[in-house]
């Protein structure tokens, strides 16, 4: 992934973070984790952040007497594209106006801005805790001066029928399997060098998913198309479409370095229309 250079460092951000939020006070010391030490901090979840090229994570606790602890984690993802990507890993919940995109659910607010992904979490859900989480998130968002660009591959997604809340951006096969199980093996050759967008579509009463994979070179894209046809749709017709056993359509098309795959389309027409609309 390309590393964007933004003016503010994690340390610079640390200096500007609020020391208080409502009745909660920052409890020193802050902790900073790198790509190795992050495993000691978030057992299990660390691989997801590493899959999005996480550089470092700053963690700060806010405490108040007889109140649940609020945990602020700021992940420096190295690029705004990856900050957006890791945000899309979990977008369930209420959309809130913080940073560039934010969601709130079960005492947890996540947002992204610039190259940072931010998580604010209260250990026990209370009304006061929820208010403090939202307030803290807003304050942290204002300390990040710049906005960042979303991944370029998103511009290749057709607009018509796009369910924007369903958009996922990634470049790791396990993350793809997390959102949409495709195969036990990496049949699409997804790696740190590839850009992947997954999104749901609804046109009229018909639905489908669209998977776009952008490869470093056309040869890799061609190899991946061949691999997909071989393992997933050996019964594809000459146009690269197949009717699956559950009555849904799958179809594939290549445009130089971009591989477009329509999954679970309710009709052949919808699959064709989506593939034709890919920019």
């Amino acid at each position: 992934m390309t590393q964007n250079s933004y003016a503010i460092s994690l340390e610079g951000l640390q200096q500007r973070l609020p020391k208080h939020v409502n009745v909660w006070n920052a409890e020193p010391p802050d902790r900073i984790f790198d790509r190795k030490t992050i495993f000691s901090y978030i057992d299990g979840g660390a691989e997801v952040y590493k899959a999005y090229n996480m550089q470092r994570c700053l963690s700060r606790r806010y405490t108040a007497p007889s109140r649940p602890v609020i945990i602020l984690d700021i992940f420096d993802m190295g690029s705004s594209q990856d900050a957006f990507g890791v945000f899309t890993h979990d977008t369930d919940g209420e959309v809130v106006d913080v940073g560039q995109n934010a969601c709130f659910r079960q005492g947890w607010l996540s947002f992204w801005k610039s190259r940072f992904f931010v998580s604010v979490y209260v250990e026990e859900e209370t009304e006061a805790g929820e208010k403090a989480v939202k307030e803290l998130a807003r304050q942290v968002a204002t300390t990040i001066p710049e906005k960042g660009a979303k991944p370029q591959i998103l511009s290749r997604l057709p607009i018509k029928g796009l369910q924007t809340a369903s958009i996922r951006y990634l470049h790791h096969p396990i993350v793809l399997n997390y959102h949409y199980y495709l195969s036990d093996e990496n049949i699409l050759n997804i790696s740190a060098e590839t850009h992947v967008a997954l999104a749901a579509y609804k046109l009229g009463n018909q639905e489908a998913r669209l998977l776009l994979v952008y490869y470093p070179d056309p040869e890799k894209a061609t190899q991946s198309k061949v691999s997909f046809l071989k393992h997933y749709m050996p019964d594809a017709d000459s146009t690269g479409a197949a009717l699956l056993e559950d009555g849904k359509w799958v179809a594939v098309k290549i445009k130089k370095r971009l591989l477009a795959i329509v999954l679970e389309a309710d009709s052949r027409e919808l699959a064709d229309k989506l593939l034709q609309s890919v920019q």
Binding site: F39, I42, D43, G44, G45, E47, V48, Y49, I71, D73, F75, D90, D92, R105, Q106, G107, W108, S110, S119, Y121, E124, E125, P173, I174, N177, Y178, H179, Y181, L182, S183, D184, E185, N186, I187, S227, H231, Y232, M233, L244, E245, D246
Partner: protein
């Protein structure tokens, strides 16, 4: 990918009409037995007591210990729990109890204490028993261990799908991250390492308040735990994990009122069966014995 390798895809599950994620654990027909795999059924005891907990953070230790004793007696086909321990270990054994310290949902200390007590009652010297998780590679008892007991709560996991008994042994290797590839599929190989192989006498999957869905970097919200009040015990970690996984899947489907696959697919459970021959994952090769509270048992 080699030409000969059979690649499992979503398409296979669509063809068989089986749930995408749980495939192998509910009888996915493509994968059959691998070399070294046992042909016998694995006995798994699921015991539940509604009084063991009122929910996350509350636990009645004496009820839990009684459940353990009952489950073990049934697992080994006796009415005398003390005899089980004498059969399972010798007084000369050096026993490592592999626990799990994950903050939001650790192995209950009551259970760890009970295991130590039962081992001592069976004649094992207190100095030859250790309970540990992240320090097992430095622990002097674990270094010399002749027997292992594996005990942990079940939970969902961002990378492996589920935190399981199989996964609990990842701390026995110096580079755990080397096993993170393809959703931790190769965790079964850890069980084949010389310092591990053949030493595990008992596996206890704690299902008191399992975590069936994770959110956020810390992958935890108590909203996604529920008072299942169970323990799953077996000498076969794969069978115990597969049984727990079926319960977790059923809970997710019930809670979300739709098919909500465990994600990512917990490949390591079926791989431990079909690729590494550690145990049985298919229900038709598991003898499941259910004891106690039956309401909302989900299996």
């Amino acid at each position: 990918m080699t030409e000969k390798k059979r690649v499992i895809t979503r398409r296979d599950f669509i063809r068989t009409g089986s749930c995408v994620v749980m495939g192998g654990l509910v009888g996915f027909p493509l994968i059959r037995k691998a070399t070294g795999q046992t042909s016998e059924k694995s006995r798994v005891v699921l015991i539940r007591d509604q009084n063991v907990t009122a929910g996350y953070g509350s636990l009645k230790g004496e009820v839990l210990v009684d459940m353990l004793d009952q489950a073990l007696a049934t697992l080994f086909g006796t009415t005398n729990p003390a005899a089980v321990w004498r059969e399972m270990v010798n007084p000369g054994d050096i026993v490592g109890i592999k626990s799990n310290v994950w903050g939001p949902l650790p192995t209950p200390a009551t259970l760890e204490d009970a295991l130590v007590e039962r081992l001592q009652e069976a004649g094992v010297d207190a100095r030859s028993i250790s309970v540990d998780d992240r320090g097992v590679r430095r622990d002097s008892v674990f270094k010399k261990a002749t027997a292992l007991i594996n005990v942990r709560p079940m939970r969902t996991h961002h990378w492996s799908g589920l935190g399981t008994l199989l996964k609990n042994y990842i701390m026995f290797v110096s580079a755990p991250w080397m096993y993170h590839g393809n959703s931790c599929e190769k965790l079964g190989t850890i069980w084949q390492k010389p310092h591990i192989k053949g030493k595990t006498r008992l596996n206890i999957l704690v299902m008191v308040t399992p975590l069936f869905h994770g959110v956020g970097p810390h992958h935890f919200s108590r909203k996604y735990t529920w008072p299942y009040g169970g323990l799953i015990v077996s000498t076969d970690p794969v069978a115990a994990d597969a049984t727990g996984a079926r319960i977790m899947q059923a809970k997710r489907n019930a809670y979300f009122a739709k098919n909500k696959p465990i994600s990512p697919r917990p490949l390591h459970i079926e791989a431990a069966d079909t690729k590494f021959g550690i145990g049985n994952s298919h229900p038709d090769r598991i003898e499941l014995v259910k004891l106690g509270w039956e309401e909302d048992i989900l299996i």
